[in-house]
């Protein structure tokens, strides 16, 4: 009986995640948001600032605007209008008044804050040689509050552990977008890295290639999320190159990465299999048939090395484990 729990409010000694992003807002906006009732703060996922447009909040199930008095309103006319000054000040606070130090981040369109929260930016792109060089006239910011869910992987983990070798099976997690793949992957990494005494699993050295800084939420190379004590993170590195680099340099027992799918990713994975290192990856896709329709993944399936397929869904909330398949027999391990 495996049912991953819903995303539940996490009790921790750390400050509330929303509190961690407040310092990047101008004092006025900070007060408006800090004044929201606790149940709204618990559901707050995004704070969107668009120049000369209403201040919008993204909550778990809906969007809302924020009025100048600090109430949630549904009509944009009553909402607080974000001024050019608000935006400029927020941008300076987000960048620590050091925009010049963040050119790579601007090229990618987002900045990772301490705490692993991300700020997406849009404005006018400045091109150089056909590539985006930087952004200027930044007019929209989206502050995305991220939450860790420690323990999300606990019910799933016994199915992924190879008790004989005291390691993890080669595992592929797949689901449609926004079902909690990344959150689940992060928690598996954390538990593998720290070790799980109840499963008789020693801590494993995990190498993570975090191309989009989503897994570890690195800020200047230092993971801001809890990814475990034996985890090395290669931040912002293309997955294929990163896996090979980790293999050569860090001698990991497990290599984990998010959202594989290109030919070169699979080629790099093959190298990893041959090196005897365990693999933990995620892929976008709603079913195995859908995955097999993609040439690169079809090749991966032909290799027959993946030992566990995990399908996630939202049937009982984000991060529900819908099915676990054995890679050899392709039979369900009887989740429900």
């Amino acid at each position: 009986m495996v049912t991953a729990p819903l995303l539940r409010p996490v009790k921790s000694t750390k400050s509330h995640p929303v509190e961690e992003v407040l310092p990047v807002l101008p004092v006025q906006l900070r007060n408006l948001i800090a004044g929201l009732p606790l149940e709204v703060l618990e559901r707050l996922e995004e704070i969107r600032l668009r120049q000369e447009r209403p201040l919008a909040l993204g909550l778990v199930h809906k969007d809302a605007f924020l009025s100048p008095e600090g109430n949630l309103v549904s009509s944009p006319e009553q909402a607080y209008r974000v001024s050019a000054g608000d935006l400029e000040r927020t941008l300076q606070l987000v960048t620590g008044s050091s925009l010049y130090a963040l050119e790579e981040e601007l090229r990618n369109g987002y900045i990772t804050l301490p705490g692993g929260h991300r700020v997406g930016l849009t404005g006018r792109a400045v091109m150089e040689g056909g590539r985006v060089k930087t952004l200027k006239y930044i007019s929209s910011l989206n502050i995305r509050i991220s939450r860790e869910v420690p323990g999300l992987a606990t019910p799933l983990l016994p199915h992924l552990i190879d008790r004989r070798l005291k390691s993890i099976y080669h595992t592929l997690i797949f689901s449609p977008p926004r079902c909690g793949k990344t959150t689940l992957l992060r928690d598996i990494i954390r538990q593998l890295s720290n070790g799980a005494p109840e499963l008789d699993l020693p801590g494993l050295t995990v190498g993570v290639v975090d191309e989009r800084s989503e897994l570890a939420g690195c800020c200047r190379g230092v993971p801001q999320r809890d990814v475990g004590v034996r985890t090395d993170v290669l931040d912002g590195c293309p997955k294929a190159d990163g896996m090979i680099m980790l293999l050569r340099s860090m001698a990991p027992q497990v290599i984990a990465t998010d959202e594989i799918g290109r030919d070169e990713d699979i080629a790099a994975l093959e190298e990893v299999f041959h090196a005897g290192v365990r693999v933990l990856v995620t892929v976008h896709g709603a079913s195995l048939a859908e995955l097999a329709a993609r040439p690169a993944l079809r090749h991966l399936f032909k290799l027959k090395v993946i030992q566990r397929f995990v399908l996630l869904g939202r049937s009982r909330g984000v991060g529900t484990v819908e099915d676990i398949l054995d890679g050899q027999t392709m039979r369900s391990l009887g989740v429900r």
């Binding site: 310092p23 900070r30 400029e88 000040r89 008044s97 925009l99 010049y100 130090a101």
Partner: protein, 172 residues
């Protein structure tokens, strides 16, 4: 006897006042020169290592000497304060505190203030341009300050002393 003592005091006071004025003129080029060097350091931090601004200001403060350190330290502290200051506000308030302690004149201050709105809000190349502009303008001010110094330092030294002497002669 008492009269002679009084005369000596007047002479001393006149000379002292003259030297203070002369010192002011002599100090301005020196202040400008070390400011220029400090901005050069800031530029190096920004262009070569892309050091974040608060850290870069801190490093400049460490190396800029005791007269300029408070300016850069203050700007750094303001930037790091939890009240959400922008670089412009931090620089502005640091300048406000620094100006009375310096030998600078309003035109020097104007050059430095002009730097504030540009600080930290653009690309490396752009930051470098703004800092260069400020350094160049400080160079112009420095040439003027040196010229004034060569003229007025001696003038005030003599003027103070001779003024004292004249007063003594009148009173005697």
């Amino acid at each position: 006897m008492l009269k002679i003592l009084g005369c000596a005091l007047i002479l001393l006071a006149g000379g002292g006042a003259g030297m203070t004025m002369a010192g002011h003129y002599a100090r301005r080029p020196r202040d400008l020169r070390s400011l220029q060097a400090a901005l050069k350091m800031l530029e190096t931090e920004i262009t070569y290592t892309a050091t974040p601004l608060p850290e870069a200001l801190g490093r400049v403060a460490e190396r800029a000497g005791p007269r300029l350190a408070p300016l850069f330290n203050r700007a750094r502290e303001e930037l790091l304060s939890p009240s959400g200051r922008t670089a412009r506000e931090a620089w502005e308030s640091a300048l406000k505190a620094f100006y009375p302690t310096s030998a600078l004149v309003p035109s020097d201050l104007a050059v430095l203030r002009q730097l504030g709105p540009a600080l930290g809000i653009s690309s490396v190349q752009d930051q470098s341009k703004h800092l260069h502009l400020a350094m160049e303008q400080l160079g112009v001010e420095m040439a003027r300050a040196e010229e004034e110094a060569s003229r007025y330092v001696r003038l005030w030294n003599y003027l103070g002393f001779l003024g004292g002497l004249a007063l003594v002669l009148m009173l005697y």
